[in-house]
């Protein structure tokens, strides 16, 4: 499942898939990534991290002190000025390399739709086959707004030439975490 998911996701345009055995390794990667992308406390360089189960796995305050531009309270203004938006996704789809987001909470949308780079955290164990499989896991009755995300924002509206990053992220970094089957997400 993971291999197919990775291959399809990486073919969907400006998308990288990383895999880590442990949550702490994944967090190490995210820290290094924010440093590399120059996250700092000024508009255009913020990082916003929307409410996710993974936030319970580390000391948020300590990380925010390390990165003064990192915000866990996502507002429209912060998201507008964000270089990096971090969210945790519910399910991965192997057939198309897509991820399903419960977008009911508006901050999930703000963080993943307005930033230049979307860092998407996905428990590796949550990769399932396809949309029909997803439909037995997520239902509009419980999830008022569901988004399937496949690759970065793109267009071919000018002369059918592909351009990445129109209204949404121009880069999608998927962080699969093997030991993150646990929190918050009911299987």
């Amino acid at each position: 499942m993971f291999e197919s998911f990775k291959a399809k996701a990486e073919a969907s345009g400006n998308t990288e898939v990383k895999r880590f055995a442990t949550t702490s390794e994944a967090l190490g990667f995210i820290e290094a990534f924010m440093a590399q992308e120059g996250v700092k406390d000024e508009a255009g360089s913020y990082a916003v991290w929307a409410q996710s189960p993974i936030l319970e796995a580390f000391d948020n305050e300590a990380m925010a002190q390390k990165f003064p531009g990192l915000h866990f309270d996502v507002t429209r203004e912060l998201a507008k000025g964000a270089k990096v938006g971090i969210t945790q996704l519910k399910w991965g789809l192997a057939e198309t390399g897509s991820m399903a987001q419960d977008s009911t909470d508006v901050t999930q949308r703000l963080a993943s739709a307005l930033a230049w780079i979307h860092v998407a955290i996905l428990p590796t164990s949550k990769i399932i086959a396809d949309i029909p499989a997803l439909m037995s896991k997520m239902h509009p009755k419980e999830d008022k707004y569901i988004t399937l995300i496949t690759g970065a924002s793109k267009t071919a509206d000018i002369e059918r030439v592909l351009a990445i990053g129109v209204h949404g992220p121009e880069r999608l970094v998927i962080v699969c975490v093997d030991d993150l089957a646990l929190e918050g997400v009911a299987s």
Partner: protein, 708 residues
């Protein structure tokens, strides 16, 4: 056809931006890759079933949707007319003090000219889909349903953006996209209302599904405090799981993607980022859709999922674009929707652009018989207003064998001053347009029907009735002679029923179904005389008539007396190469040994490939007969002849021919062949006019001396 139409065709043919772009895309190959591992036939049957069933219950589904969406907190309004939909949205804007709107792509709002309507109340509507925004800045309608601004070049777009953002810009596409991002970003934050369309509306859960690649619909439905979705009733499906097959087919067929970057299911209002509750309004719009659902023929068109694949493969659309071929909705399906959402009259000019090649039908994600429905528009227009006098007279002449054949014989005499090597290369004055890009064939000195009695045939056990078709009889009689010789070698005696005449395809194609039925009735019994084992036809279009259309047309016209005999004819009918392939496989025809190998390229006539599905057999027969087949690019794309299409739409026909000739030349083959005298007339004439070395020859003539 109105003069304005000819002028706009001419203008469109001068500007080949979109044609070039679609060519470079190589849609068939990228699409095939996207469908790897997917059973397309099963998938589209499922969609046709779901949406066909839904079309039969639009009122009921709309009520269920309304009930369920309202239980979730969404306000639902069912608008019978564009007026009602516009009023509802304008009143809402008034009530909420809305001055600025951001929109994601919605063909339904284009259909009712919503932006223009809201203008009069000083409400500013900004499109946010890049292509739609470009069209808005250019004050143009979309030329393609999925990619609205492909007709404009990056230079033109750069000028539009420079004027809008008041800065000098170059035409680098990547930079232009970022200019648009920056310019539109602020609008999302300032807007009081977001308006979207929907790709699917799910009655069971009261949800709408919106697909975009750019991510603008997520912002349109998230940042403004009010969200309005305008949704055509045909987007309704009963169940949540019905969305799965549509999402599997739509992106693959539309843009060769496995899935669009974003697909959102919105089922209830959610909290805005300031803690207030979003207002969500869904306007379900009828605008004649329920009337369409009651029409036994056109109900099928409501199955459309708007993937626009029918545009991408249409050889006419690719030349003239949606500004000529369509109105708001473009191409083949657009013609049908225009006839219903506007009025039949507005589709009468554009329906004439369909050449009936059926390319769209084989790719339609919802199994809609698009050419069949366009023909139905043509038939209804002809029934209501009658065919133009000259055209009707011509069809009547064709249907009167004695008069028609006498005229053809006379023509073979009159044409003499213009004929050289079997071609008419120049015609005088007003007819010269017809021979400008293509030499016309001359009528043969003696038709096949006069030659046939002079051919000596051996006594054989089996018999084949030969249906020659008008073109082979009077233009290419040598092919007929070759057919007799080849079949004789397989031990089959050829009968030529003298009473045979036009098969009726020209009448059928112009919407005169009654005359087509006359043609069927005249031919059926003569073909069964002498109880032949086979009926052999060497024109793909006539083959279609004998194998399929006669039965269908007699049924439709309620003239059922001869249907059992028509079925008998259909069972016995083979296209010539189809029969040769069978005879080779049965070892009744044996290719000679040690033949010199020649190269050829095979043009699939539309009727052969898509109406009767014969395309493997001719290749196998010709290969066995010693030809190395060099496939051309787009071997099954129409050559532009289309029967009388070449007379009615000469400019488009010639452009299609030009592309076909380029593809033929690129193979470097010695011969090109097609089992349709119409295609041969077109291609042979084009090759002659361009001075090509490649010869266009009927398969029978290529194979005549190849068997023991």
């Amino acid at each position: 056809m109105k003069e304005g139409m000819s002028a706009s065709i001419h203008k469109a043919l001068e500007n080949q931006n979109l044609a070039g772009i679609l060519d470079r895309w190589n849609y068939p190959a990228t699409r095939a890759k996207a469908f790897e591992g997917v059973d397309f036939e099963a998938l589209r049957s499922k969609i046709a079933d779901i949406k066909g069933e839904a079309a039969g219950h639009l009122d009921e589904l709309a009520q269920t949707f309304k009930k369920n969406a309202e239980a979730n907190g969404i306000k639902v309004f069912i608008a019978k007319s564009p007026d009602e939909a516009r009023e509802y949205i304008a009143n809402l804007c008034n009530e909420k003090g809305v001055k600025k709107i951001v929109k994601s792509k919605s063909m339904a709002t284009e259909e009712i000219h919503l932006n223009h309507f809201l203008d009069q109340f000083d409400i500013q509507s900004d499109e946010t889909d890049l292509g739609e925004w470009i069209c808005q800045l250019a004050h143009q309608t979309p030329s393609h349903m999925v990619m609205p601004a492909l007709h404009l070049t990056k230079e033109e777009i750069s000028d539009l953006f420079a004027a809008e953002t008041k800065q000098p810009l170059d035409s680098d596409i990547q930079k232009l996209v970022k200019v648009a991002r920056k310019a539109i970003r602020e609008k999302f934050f300032e807007a009081d209302m977001g308006i979207s369309g929907a790709n699917i509306a799910i009655a069971e859960t009261g949800s709408i599904v919106i697909c975009t690649n750019e991510g603008n619909a997520r912002l349109v439905t998230t940042l403004p405090k009010i969200h309005v979705a305008l949704v055509g009733l045909e987007k309704l499906v009963p169940n949540y799981t019905d969305a799965a097959p549509i999402l599997a087919a739509l992106p693959r067929n539309a843009t060769s993607q496995l899935l669009t970057s974003y697909a959102s299911f919105i089922s209830a209002p959610t909290l805005n980022d300031d803690g207030t509750m979003k207002e969500v309004h869904i306007v379900l719009m009828d605008n004649n859709r329920t009337a369409m659902a009651k029409d036994p023929k056109f109900k099928e068109a409501l199955q459309c999922i708007r993937c626009a694949a029918c545009l991408n493969v249409c050889p006419v659309y690719r030349l003239v674009t949606g500004h000529v071929f369509g109105d708001i909705y473009t191409g083949g399906i657009g013609t049908i929707l225009t006839a219903w959402f506007n009025e039949l009259k507005s589709a009468e000019d554009i329906q004439a652009l369909c050449i009936g090649c059926d390319k769209c039908k084989e790719i339609c994600a919802a199994k809609i018989d698009i050419p069949g429905l366009i023909l139905e528009i043509r038939r209804r227009a002809a029934a209501k207003e009658g065919l133009p006098f000259i055209y009707k007279s011509a069809l009547q002449v064709i249907n009167n064998r004695k008069v028609f054949h006498t005229m053809l014989r006379a023509a073979s005499v009159v044409q003499k001053p213009f004929v050289k090597e079997g071609f008419i290369r120049h015609l005088p004055m007003f007819l010269s347009g017809l021979s400008e890009y293509r030499s016309l064939p001359s009528v043969a000195p003696s038709p096949f029907r006069d030659i046939f009695p002079t051919i000596k045939q051996p006594k054989c056990e089996q018999k084949a009735a030969f249906y020659a078709g008008c073109a082979l009889d009077f233009v290419y009689p040598d092919a007929g002679v070759a057919i007799v010789k080849i079949l004789n070698k397989a031990g089959i005696e050829v009968l030529f029923p003298e009473a045979q005449s036009c098969c009726g395809i020209p009448h059928w194609g112009s919407g005169s179904f009654d005359m087509a039925a006359d043609a069927a009735e005249r031919n059926i019994l003569p073909l069964l005389e002498g109880n032949p084992d086979y009926v052999v036809v060497s024109c793909a279009s006539c083959t279609t008539a004998l194998k399929k259309e006669w039965i269908k047309i007699l049924k439709e016209q309620h003239r059922e007396v001869l249907i059992p005999q028509a079925k008998k004819v259909a069972e016995k009918t083979y296209m010539f190469t189809e029969l040769v392939d069978k005879l080779i496989k049965e070892k009744r025809l044996t290719p000679k040994e040690g033949m010199e190998l020649h190269t050829l390229t095979y043009h699939d006539s539309c009727h052969a490939k898509r109406h009767v599905g014969v395309f493997k057999e001719p290749r196998e027969a010709l290969s066995a007969a010693g030809y190395d087949i060099k496939e051309m690019n787009e071997c099954d794309t129409c050559c532009g002849m289309g029967g009388s299409y070449t007379l009615k739409q000469p400019e488009i026909s010639m452009k299609m021919l030009k592309r076909k000739l380029e593809n033929i030349e690129a193979t470097g083959a010695e011969f090109v062949t097609a089992e349709c005298p119409g295609c041969l007339i077109q291609i042979r004439g084009g090759l002659d006019k361009s001075g090509s070395k490649i010869k266009a020859i009927h398969p029978a003539e290529l194979m005549v001396d190849k068997f023991k």
